[in-house]
Symmetry: C2
Subunit: 223 residues, 2 copies
DNA sequence: GTCTATATCTAGATAGAC
DNA sequence: GTCTATCTAGATATAGAC
């Protein structure tokens, strides 16, 4: 088992300034979280042992228990931090603007790029996997990672009545839902090997579809 | 821990006809699979112990090992059987037909009803959870549960050129992707408590969106 | 604070009686 | 074929040295 635990890219940070005697203080905590991330992402919650986390993090088991109450505490602290510090959505932080087709394309490409990242895929899988045991973490994901995107796109649709989108919130679901499902099937569930489809095709159809009511509107206006 | 293992709704089947002496033959196998299903769906792969499966199934552990090679073998056999016998998609078995709006609505409602079932949600969660450890099971899911739906809807779109759907396959992804993502967020990830939306709103917008190119076509034709 | 060593339990898998 | 009893490894969590 213990296969030569290859050097993890552990957070090395600044090596504790002046005094060489005092052992690092907050560094251990970061090491633990980094090690826990690696192991949890690969083996899931139940499949992860504290021994392994300690080994990968390069600390002793007791050190983990001095920083976190127990395995559950370590897991929830890790996942919460990941959501808030790493995966909180950025394109939801400020109002969207720009020409509709361009904006939607940029939004879709950003979304797919972010979700297509290998670490995010593993993270997404883990949150879903533990959504029965840790429902509040799944809901935190919804609030921190997804909700702003939905709300902001809805507001964009609302502020562009010329797009003739009858139900902005529902359309927002369709937009991000299509993209998220694409990642889920292609990447998380390894569907790309058996049901290939390029991102471009999906994005093109998605944009054309979302904006098609606008075309109807224009035709109507031209009368 | 062992909390009074409340009576599971075990398969009791017919209690072995005539001869009372001979112990049931294939019954045990069904009992094992039913018990394994219950435990795996609730605790995931790593979180499930063979002891617990044996207890819930009402057989001894050794009986399990006489029917299945090991834990992996039991798990894969169970999941494969569930996909093929229980969740293989039916609305993919025969060509779709009917008036577009009606057909899509019926398709969407059937899809949401099937996926909204509590057992299916747990099953879906489990397949995703183990898609890293058992990628071939995730791919089997794609092939048996999803692919026919995609293909058949694509063919329907292709056979209805008046709908003006430029890329039937991509549109099929948008249709089922939106619905699947809805279930994922609302049910699997418990989003309905914090981001409520009725199925009707999603379906209405989805159908209007998918069919909007047809309206464009009709307006064009009317000239 | 951090480590080594250990206590207690439960895991997957097997041996042998019937 | 099925069950009871058991083996061995690895799990969470803690005790005590430094």
């Amino acid at each position: 088992m213990l296969e030569q635990m290859s050097d993890q890219p552990l957070v090395q940070h600044e090596p504790s300034p002046e005094t060489t005697s005092s052992p690092p203080r907050k560094l251990k905590c970061e090491q633990i979280l980094q090690g826990a991330l690696t192991v949890f992402l690969e083996h899931g919650y139940a499949g992860t042992s504290m021994d392994r986390v300690a080994a990968v993090a390069g600390v002793s088991k007791q050190t983990i228990y001095s920083h976190f109450q127990d395995k559950q505490g370590l897991f929830t602290a890790l996942i919460e931090r990941m959501m808030i510090d790493r995966f909180r959505v950025e394109f939801g932080s400020e109002p969207l603007q720009g020409e509709p087709a361009m904006l939607l394309r940029r939004l879709a490409e950003t979304f797919l790029t972010k979700m297509g990242d290998a670490e995010f895929i593993a993270f997404f899988r883990l949150v879903i996997a533990e959504s029965a045991r840790f429902p509040e973490l799944a809901q935190l994901y919804t609030r921190t990672v997804m909700q702003y995107g939905y709300v902001n796109l809805s507001q964009y649709f609302e502020s562009h009545p010329e797009l003739h989108i009858a139900d902005p919130e529902a359309m927002s679901r369709i937009f991000f839902g299509s993209l998220g499902a694409f990642i889920l099937v292609q990447e998380v569930m390894h569907g790309k090997q058996i049901m290939a489809m390029s991102e471009e095709r999906l994005i093109d159809s998605l944009i054309a579809t979302v904006l098609s009511q606008a075309t109807v509107g224009q035709v109507g206006k031209s009368h």
